[in-house]
Amino acid sequence: MRAYLLSRLAQTALVVFLSLSAVFAMVRLGGDPVLLFMPMDIQAKDVNEIRQRLGFNDPLPVQYARFVGGALRGDFGESLRYRRDALGLVLERLPATLLLAASAVLLTLVVAVPLGVVTAVRRNTLVDHAGTLATVIGQAVPGFWLGLMLIYVFSVQLRWLPTGGMGSLAHLVMPSVVLAAFFSARIARLTRSAMLEALGEDYVLTARAKGLTEPRVVAKHTLRNSAIPIVTLAGLEIGQLLGGAVITETIFAWPGLGRLTVQALLNRDFPVVLAAVFVISATYTVINLLVDVLYGWLDPRVRLR
């Protein structure tokens, strides 16, 4: 187990390092960042002086070496726009995004898994068709559109929920629903197909033959066996969930990592972009590691190596 974790950690470090190098190369090929954080009446000589001071005039390998040296010490430099430690700026936003993602996952588990189970057990009934239709639509409706509609109905018309920002539990409702919508649809469909597969297995037939009641069969035998693919996919989809958070956070003015990243990209605030890439890929790999550990618990046959 320890050897496994160590090798996974080494791999993770490599993955994160490669992502950062790739993004570093890409941002340096992009436009001039100096223009975007300086006032418009700046004179050409001042622009050049600032480029010089920030090291943007140095040869690329030198800049890269400096970046790697800093990154190894956890120093991604200072945000060009906000004049603050870039990593600190990013880490400050991480809890908000994790809260949003966690509540979306929770909502998904509460809604999607039961939906998937019910549609599988009641296959080809009206419930199944309605449920399937709902998931297919859930997958097709763009999140940003859903978000705007919810704000219009629940904030402007009914005034039940705040339009955006972070604060009370009420602020969390609409962003989580929007973020969970697409995710739930995927998970519900996956649960359904995994359940269908499991329901056809021999041991289920045996269990039935033993005279176990159907709810017991479903709960004890099939659901646990279906859990593995569900957890796998959920783990893989966490990355997409973080991606979805970009849009949700922008619409609901949620002070999270996704919104910061989009802004940093638009502002060419490269230290922040790199710090965000670091935090996002690290978060994602850690979550996947946890998913792997969860396997062992779900299925004792899986030995981590």
């Binding site: 001039d32 006032p39 001042d46 001071r53 936003r93 929920l161 920002g165 009370s168």
Partner: protein, 509 residues
């Protein structure tokens, strides 16, 4: 177990309650403002950014203010000033003013603030040539008299001292705590004190009851940062915010209809123009073509049809909101005249293929205006390809002279002549589109050093006439700034885009 459930229920009820409803805010005298962007720092005189300074000015005072109507300098922390000689200015300071931490305001504060800004270690944007670069030294004469010595005659000093470029920090605190601590918890002399800044979310300020100008009506001011216009609008209509910046012209009616808020508008000092680029080869090298373009674009129609009347036409490079403004005659919309001018220049409009670069969402309906201009030019047979750029790319293109023959840009707040004419009509400037005109070059070099107000007015009037005749732009308009203001707030917007809450009053309705 029962008590646990009770606690959970109580917590849920508290959590679900939407905080600070509009009605409660009237009682507690609170105002919430919805802005599209957050401040970049809480440290004064470091980052040049109008939005940042707008919020900082509630905490920090300047030496001088601007009269919101006449734009003339009026007293603030300085009660008066005089020009001792061409390179020496003397300011008399207000007595009895205290910083939020109790430190008295004196000439030392002014000196310390500027020395911080000019210190290379501070990496302040204000140390650059366009800001406090021309300043040589600050001399303390006595506690309430301070002198500014400049490297060369610099008439614009007064504009810098009265805009947002000089927010006075406490000398002692700056020395003892250092800039990093002041960035976390700013200490000024302003009408509001800093409470908290939750990044990407809100900035909260509370009333300074000891303010030298008397306490503000609002006891608490919250700036909320809501990037999406539609979300900001929803927040206004649902009563979560009281003032909303940048209502688009087409949404005015929806705000008025809501019964909760009205639209307050002002003619802004920010100008919009269509550059006719002569810094690269092409048809815009010819002044006749540039004039023809001015006759070919129907500015009044653009204002009426695209901006719903929410703009004020400009005829030259400066707007009446500018202290150095002098009137010039407008180019009339006249397609026959345009045709004639094209013919004179030997240009066949139907064979003309132009590219127009425009940003999207930076200025009111910028992209739509650009598309509408292309449609108007089409009436003369001119084909115009509109290229919509992301803002950073737009700036890159202008700086590297990579735009098409035309580009759309806004400039401002443009309150003095130098700030517009110098950076936009000289070839070596970062964002200029026109230059290499010897006469204009010389006149600009002279105008920026004229200390005598009458001479300065004459110099800028002459420049405006020259620029008008050279037609480096299709002169468009001054933007109108539109704000949604809740019925419970009385507040008048200003031409300099400052959302200044010291002036706001909260009323029960």
């Amino acid at each position: 177990m029962r008590s646990f459930f009770r606690a959970v229920i109580a917590l849920t009820v508290v959590a679900l309650a939407v905080p600070a409803l509009a009605q409660d805010r009237v009682k507690s005298k609170e105002i919430v403002i919805g802005l599209g962007a957050e401040p970049r720092t809480m440290l004064a005189v470091t980052i040049v950014d109008w939005t940042t300074n707008n919020m900082l000015e509630h905490i920090y005072d300047r030496l001088l203010d601007r009269d919101p109507k006449t734009f003339k300098p009026v007293p603030m922390l300085a009660t008066g000033f005089k020009i001792v000689n061409d390179t020496t200015w003397e300011f008399t300071l207000r007595k009895g003013v205290k910083f939020h931490n109790g430190e008295p305001f004196t000439a030392q504060s002014v000196k310390a603030t500027l020395e911080y800004a000019l210190d290379p270690a501070s990496k302040s944007h204000y140390a650059t040539a366009s800001y406090w670069g021309p300043l040589k030294e600050v001399q303390v004469v006595d506690d309430y008299t301070v002198r500014f010595l400049t490297k060369q005659p610099w008439p614009n000093l007064i504009d810098h001292a009265s805009l947002t470029n000089l927010l006075i920090m406490p000398a002692k605190a700056l020395k003892e705590l250092g800039p990093a601590k002041l960035a976390e918890k700013p200490i000024g002399t302003g009408p509001f004190k800093f409470v908290e800044w939750r990044r990407d979310e809100r900035l909260v300020l509370e009333r300074n009851t000891d303010y030298w100008g008397g306490p503000a009506d609002a006891s608490r001011v919250t700036f909320r940062f809501i990037p999406e216009f539609s979300t900001r609008m929803a927040a206004l209509l649902s009563g979560e915010i009281d003032i909303m910046k940048d209502v688009p012209p087409h949404a005015v009616e929806a705000v008025e209809r809501s019964g909760r808020a009205r639209v307050r508008s002002t003619v802004s000092s920010r100008i919009n123009y269509l550059a006719l680029v002569n810094l690269k080869p092409g048809p815009m090298q010819d002044v006749r073509v540039r004039r023809a373009m001015n006759h070919a674009v129907d500015v009044d129609e653009l204002i009426k049809a695209v901006l719903k009347g929410r703009a004020t036409r400009m005829c030259g490079p400066l707007a009446p909101a500018n202290v150095d403004y002098a009137p010039v005659e407008c180019y009339r919309y006249d397609s026959a005249r345009a045709q004639a001018l094209f013919k004179e220049a030997g240009v066949e409009p139907t064979k003309l293929q132009l590219t127009l670069d425009t940003p999207a969402g930076r200025y009111p309906l910028d992209k739509d205006v650009s598309l509408a201009i292309a449609a108007q030019l089409q009436r003369l047979g001119i084909k115009t390809n509109v290229v919509v750029n992301e803002w950073g790319t737009h700036l890159d293109k202008i700086k590297n002279r990579n735009t098409g023959e035309l580009f759309f840009l806004g400039w401002g707040p443009a309150l003095n002549g130098q700030g517009t004419i110098q950076p936009l009509f000289l070839a070596d400037q970062t964002y200029s589109s026109y230059g290499n005109n010897k006469v204009i070059d010389e006149k600009i070099a002279r105008a920026v050093t004229v200390m005598d107000p009458k001479g300065r007015a004459a110099a800028y009037a002459e420049l405006q006439k020259l620029v008008h005749d050279e037609a480096p732009w299709v002169f468009l308009w001054q933007q109108h700034d539109l704000y949604g203001v809740a019925n419970t707030v009385e507040w008048t917007p200003r031409a300099d885009e400052k959302v200044w809450m010291y002036d706001a009053k909260i009323v029960a309705r």
